[in-house]
């Protein structure tokens, strides 16, 4: 159950992930060919990394009329089989994250394939705004730990208050 976790709060908007992705997947530096995209909202001063969430109940997979979208057994990534794909682009419309793209020159649809379990973009994100979690169970463990430490701190504070 692998997944890339996006944390917009840690994103600086440097777009190294986009460059790394397009270079790794296409051999050129072209953010418009990247599977991961940083939505830069300069006016608000906010940068949000977005990409495929490899949904469990993936809308793209559901709407594909020729069943070209499938789940990889090893990485659990949602992938497109280009040979079966007819290019109807229904998946682009269905995806709630805008994570599926169409390459007009090649005439194919493409999306994040998690680099088969070793995503390149993550290696270039040094603020950890995007992180690859091979097993999502670890995620909830992390959240639990964070929550617990907050509770512990709150407990400490209330004890201090009580002794005043």
């Amino acid at each position: 159950m692998g997944k890339i976790v996006f944390n917009p709060n840690l994103c600086t908007g440097c777009r190294a992930c986009e460059l790394a992705c397009s270079f790794y997947c296409e051999g050129i530096f072209a953010p418009s060919k990247s599977r991961i995209r940083v939505v830069k909202m300069d006016w608000q001063g906010v940068d949000v990394p977005t990409g495929c969430e490899h949904c469990e109940d993936a809308p793209c997979m559901l709407v594909c009329p020729v069943k070209a979208i499938y789940r990889d057994e090893d990485t659990d990534a949602v992938l497109i089989d280009c040979d079966t794909c007819i290019g109807c682009k229904e998946c682009i419309v269905a995806c709630p994250f805008g994570a599926i793209h169409f390459d007009g020159r090649k005439g194919i649809l493409y999306k994040c394939d998690l680099c088969f379990g070793d995503p390149e973009c993550v290696k270039w994100c040094f603020t950890k705004a995007i992180e690859y979690v091979p097993d999502v169970e670890i995620l909830s463990e992390k959240v639990r730990a964070k929550h617990a430490s907050k509770v512990a701190k709150a407990g400490e504070a209330s004890r201090k208050l009580a002794t005043l």
Partner: protein, 688 residues
């Protein structure tokens, strides 16, 4: 057929606004090898295409916007772009640099640069989407602020577009107009925005869906990662002071050193510095609450020095944007204002009007001092109380200058150099201008090498031509000795010409490739500095370093070693010198304002310091010697130009009688363009 160079888009746009003609031109391999890109190539275009007699605000002036070969790739800090022209503010070579995403977008659209000539009859904006390039009507944008303009164009063209726009100040003829890219990133110095507006061009909107190929893709990743690691493992970076607080952190550093210009340049220690510090900005206005408070980065950069903040309540509620040190210093300590909200608001006002915040802040600070000294009469100020520290007056002055309203506003629009000249009565003494350009937020008396860098900088007083913070950091003395032949100290004179010329060459190179100054002249992560730390035992393991030569080679396929690349930097410095020689710059112009020689610093940690004129002149002598320039006139020697293989520059200078031979450098005669006349022409335009 010639092998295509990697990295480059390979062609640039030529847009003639007079005839509405848009063409593309190939970028020759020769030009790329000799001048690399960015500052180098745009400078060469200015040298080749603008006659020295040209009025900077006429249709004959050229505005060249160029990126570099590494721009838009994964290398560290690859988001820079350069704008070159002949400056209306100074009358000499004008250049401005900025970061972020506009430059890369231009390359993805398929162009390394844009050369703008002529003048449109009605306001236009340039629309670029890949192959589709057109001049569109901009009458509905004319007169609008930069923020509105950018928002409207994003709606019109699409939110994927990157916008560079000028503001109403530049349209009206304020001589220090800036071009603001994507709301917050300014190419501001030298009045490049005023030149763009004088062509009736309001904005450039760019969207590119193509990509950049590099020459050696197999090696590229490793070289790029080495550069990133050089920064990430650097001890200075690891302290996280700069990334966490942004450039504003310099406020307290400079104040501690006693080199923070205060109340114009009267003092160098500001008692209110902690009120307008980076920490306070973080605590009061930063938007995101994260371990990296609101840190935003230019393309492909780990340093994230841009601070984004918003004022939520009070008088200036709604003010938002990126804040940087230089402009904050100009509106803060230089004007004696310790109200951070007012400084932040002033900064964003200047941005919205499209004015260089440094020049604007300096102008107001100069007026304030002239007012206090009694040189600026009350009848000239329309009742404004221009004492230092008056935040409301400062804000009112920004509106007046930006709109060129009232006598003082019109005067201020000409910049401190022209304004004080016009005022007379000894007013010029109170400006910090060198070659017509205002000095930034470091007092030359507090940092000798920095000050020396201002004096010889090619765009007039400027820290970024050299940026020798080497003297301010605690860098082991062995490294200074090895690189510059002397132990480098903050207040010493030894080794400073070597230090400044080395920094200048590196800076010219990095501006031409498209790299940020902070990498090679703040963190010093570039070859050979980390290697020297290791050599002298200050680093345990063999360190990572940013190797410009490797980087250029894997990107473009141009194989040059470190020495050869430094020669390219030197060539660019000499090219800019040649442009300046043609418009009348001589040795006498390579100096500091009299004040820094005469007045010792009155207060603070650097109390009593001033620049020793005799020793300073010796620095200039030594610097000229290193550069191969004539000590008497400041001309470039024929030998130097031959050594740098700049034959076209050589014949042009010879034609104009601006050349000496190293052996007979005493005898000079030739055509001289009167600089005072040239500068006047720009000022007159502004005043009409």
């Amino acid at each position: 057929m010639e092998e295509k160079l990697g990295g480059y888009a390979g062609k640039f746009l030529r847009v003639d606004l007079t005839s509405n003609r848009i063409t593309t031109e190939p970028l020759s391999r020769d030009l790329c090898e000799n001048y690399i890109g960015g500052r180098g190539i745009s400078g060469k275009i200015i040298f080749d295409e603008v006659k020295p007699e040209t009025d900077p605000l006429s249709a004959d002036n050229v505005l060249a916007i160029f990126t570099g070969p590494i721009v838009g790739t994964l290398g560290l800090t690859s988001g820079r772009l350069n704008v070159s022209t002949i400056s209306p503010l100074t009358g000499i070579y004008g250049n401005a640099n900025t970061g972020a995403n506009w430059g890369p977008e231009l390359k993805y659209a398929g162009y390394d640069g844009i050369v703008l000539t002529g003048k449109a009859e009605t306001p236009k904006y340039l629309y670029i989407k890949d192959d589709r390039v057109e001049l569109r009507d901009a009458t509905h944008l004319w007169g609008k602020g930069v923020m509105d303009t950018t928002n409207i164009l994003l709606e019109e063209c699409g939110h994927e577009f990157r916008i560079g726009a000028v503001g109403p100040a530049a349209e009206k003829g304020v001589l220090f107009g800036s071009i603001i890219f994507d709301f917050w990133d300014a190419a501001a110095r030298s009045g490049v925005g005023t030149v763009m507006a004088s062509k009736n061009l309001k904005a450039i909107a760019v969207r590119g869906t193509g990509g950049i190929e590099v020459a050696r893709p197999k090696d590229y990743r490793e070289v790029a990662m080495e550069g990133w690691q050089a920064l990430l493992t650097d001890p200075g970076f690891k302290t996280q002071e700069h990334p966490a607080l942004g450039t504003m952190v310099v406020m307290s550093w400079e104040n501690a050193l006693g080199s923070l210009p205060t109340r114009n340049f009267r003092e160098t220690y500001f008692e209110g510095a902690s009120e307008i510090s980076a920490e306070r900005f973080r605590d009061l206005y930063n938007v995101k609450e994260t371990p990296i408070p609101a840190g935003r980065a230019c393309m492909s950069c780990a340093n994230r020095c841009k601070r984004f903040g918003k004022i939520q309540s009070g008088k200036y509620a709604g003010t938002k944007g990126n804040i940087e040190f230089e402009t904050a210093c100009a509106f803060g300590s230089k004007c004696g204002v310790s109200d951070l909200a007012a400084v932040f608001h002033a900064y964003m006002l200047a941005n919205d009007y499209g004015m260089d915040g440094i020049s604007c802040g300096n102008m107001i600070a100069t007026f304030m001092e002239l007012y206090e000294e009694g040189i600026l009469d009350k009848d000239k100020t329309d009742g404004l109380d221009l004492h230092f520290g008056k935040a409301d007056t400062m804000i009112e002055m920004i509106h007046r200058i930006g709109n060129m309203q009232s006598e003082l506003g019109r005067l201020g629009a000409k910049g401190a150099y022209h304004a004080t000249k016009e005022l007379g009565n000894g007013a010029s003494y109170y400006t910090s201008c060198i070659k017509g350009m205002d000095t930034i937020g470091t007092d030359p008396r507090g940092a000798i090498g920095f000050g020396f860098g201002f004096a010889v900088a090619s765009r007039g007083s400027d820290h970024l031509r050299a940026h020798p913070v080497f003297e301010m950091l605690r860098i082991p003395k062995e490294i200074g000795k090895e690189l510059f032949g002397a132990e480098i100290t903050l207040t010493g004179y030894e080794g400073k010409p070597q230090m400044v010329s080395w920094h200048e060459n590196y800076a010219a190179l990095s501006d031409s490739m498209g790299i940020c100054r902070f990498m090679h002249a703040s963190y010093y992560i570039q070859y050979p500095i980390p290697e020297l730390y290791y050599k002298y035992g200050y680093r345990k393991e063999s360190p990572h370093s940013l190797k410009f030569h490797d980087w250029l080679a894997v990107t473009t396929g141009i194989d040059m070693d470190y020495e050869q690349l430094m020669k390219v930097g030197e060539r660019i410095i000499n090219l800019e010198r040649a442009i300046n020689l043609r418009v009348g710059i001589r040795r006498k112009d390579d100096t500091l304002p009299e004040r820094f020689f005469r007045e010792p610093i009155p207060t603070g940690p650097a109390k009593g310091r001033k620049v020793d004129k005799k020793r300073f002149e010796q620095l200039v002598d030594k610097y000229y010697e290193l550069r191969g320039w004539d000590k008497k006139t400041g001309f470039i020697t024929e030998e130097k130009l031959r050594e740098l293989r700049m034959d076209d520059v050589l014949s042009e200078l010879k034609l104009r009688g601006l050349l000496v031979s190293g052996q007979h450098s005493a005898e000079i005669s030739g055509v001289k363009v009167k600089k005072s006349e040239k500068r006047q022409s720009g000022a007159k335009k502004a005043g009409k």
